[in-house]
Symmetry: C2
DNA sequence: ACCTGAACACCGTTCAAGT
DNA sequence: ACCTGAACACCGTTCAAGT
């Protein structure tokens, strides 16, 4: 039950030439398309290559195997997610804890909701992809951002920030994922938003070592 | 992106004869074995049949396709999970809300921890299995049990019990799943237990419409 | 009646042959 | 140098032939 070594999962050639970059982009786009229209287990290399307008052989020049292809697609979207989440964190730096909580929850949901179908498609292949590195790396980045932000709260102090950040993020992920699997209807998303706010507020409130009214 | 109709996922013949029952059991056992030793995507029908000591043809008499096989295995374990969870719920009926919270969290974790490797194996194939029926059915059962139990709390009342139960369960699932994907080391499980208690307590505390000291 | 396993269609991956 | 697609190994599924 070993997981594939990360190095073998990256594209074979860095697309320095414009032509190559275009090809890779086409393959990316084709992958998402096939994923969305044909569904998870109908994602075949032949189908992707055909939709991208290249031969299988060419595709294998850029991605040494199917896992590498899926890895690249997932990686791309997770990177976007992390970047936007970190940006949102900076925006609430040093604010009161309640604002921070609101910021974290809203950012998390907003990013997922922006492209609902891509989000759902990615949830599917993210599990078929058995590289822990990507999962763990993303988790670590989000956790770090979260720790710093919570640590900057001007009216609360926490012990065990790593544990708290981990719990907060994985709890949000679990609920959000469930909502997406249930179809992510607008009303359901709204209720998720409300409940997540309560969940995180209650948790951080009970976990705060000290709360002061420095400012209002 | 349609999901397979549930009816086609059930075993073809109900094993009325002892022989058949034994065969089905052997296939079940073989599936789990292959899953644990060979890993997720090396779970092939040939391999399972071989390990179970039957021909592929015979296996296809009991399970019309691979999905049906995986469905059956996942179904079996989810049923056990639901049963044990419901039993644990009954055990805390009518208690104070803090005890109930403790009961829910501990039950949830205990059941998952009892067979850690099976739990992890099931997380893997549970996603490859694209039948919403099983997922939703399980979620519904757990939610119902949770709603009743929370409603029975002798010292707290809640509005939106369905939403609260949903959030509680999916949050627990998200965090627990993450811990299992990280290897579920004992210390990590312990920290999960502590944090989950805080998470659920804080959430229920903030969501309670009314709290009274009826008893102590 | 029930079991078997060769046979078929399809998928991931390769590599000799083309340009 | 780079692309192509027939060819290979393997997997899910079937069904004619055995008992």
């Amino acid at each position: 039950m070993k997981t594939t070594h990360p190095e073998t999962l990256r594209p074979r050639k860095t697309p320095t030439q414009a032509r190559s970059a275009a090809t890779v982009d086409a393959i990316f786009e084709a992958t998402i398309q096939v994923l969305l229209t044909d569904g998870g287990h109908r994602l075949t290399t032949t189908r992707v290559a055909e939709k991208a307008g290249v031969s299988v052989g060419t595709m294998y020049q850029y991605f040494p195997h199917k896992q590498a292809l899926m890895y690249a697609v997932v990686h791309q979207h997770l990177t976007i997610f992390v970047d936007e989440f970190e940006a949102a964190c900076f925006r609430h730096w040093n604010e009161p804890i309640d604002n921070i909580t609101q910021g974290i929850v809203t950012a998390f949901l907003d990013i997922k909701i922006r492209h609902p179908d891509v989000t759902r498609a990615l949830y599917k292949i993210a599990d078929e992809l058995d590289t822990d590195e990507l999962r763990f790396g993303t988790a670590k980045s989000l956790q770090t951002a979260c720790i710093s932000l919570l640590g900057s709260a001007r009216d609360a102090t926490f012990e065990n920030l790593p544990e708290i950040a981990f719990t907060l993020l994985t709890a949000m992920n679990g609920t959000t994922r469930a909502v997406f699997e249930f179809g992510a209807e607008p009303e359901m998303v709204e209720m998720l938003h409300i409940q997540l706010l309560a969940l995180c507020r209650g948790y951080l409130h009970i976990s705060a070592v000290q709360r002061s009214n420095v400012s209002h």
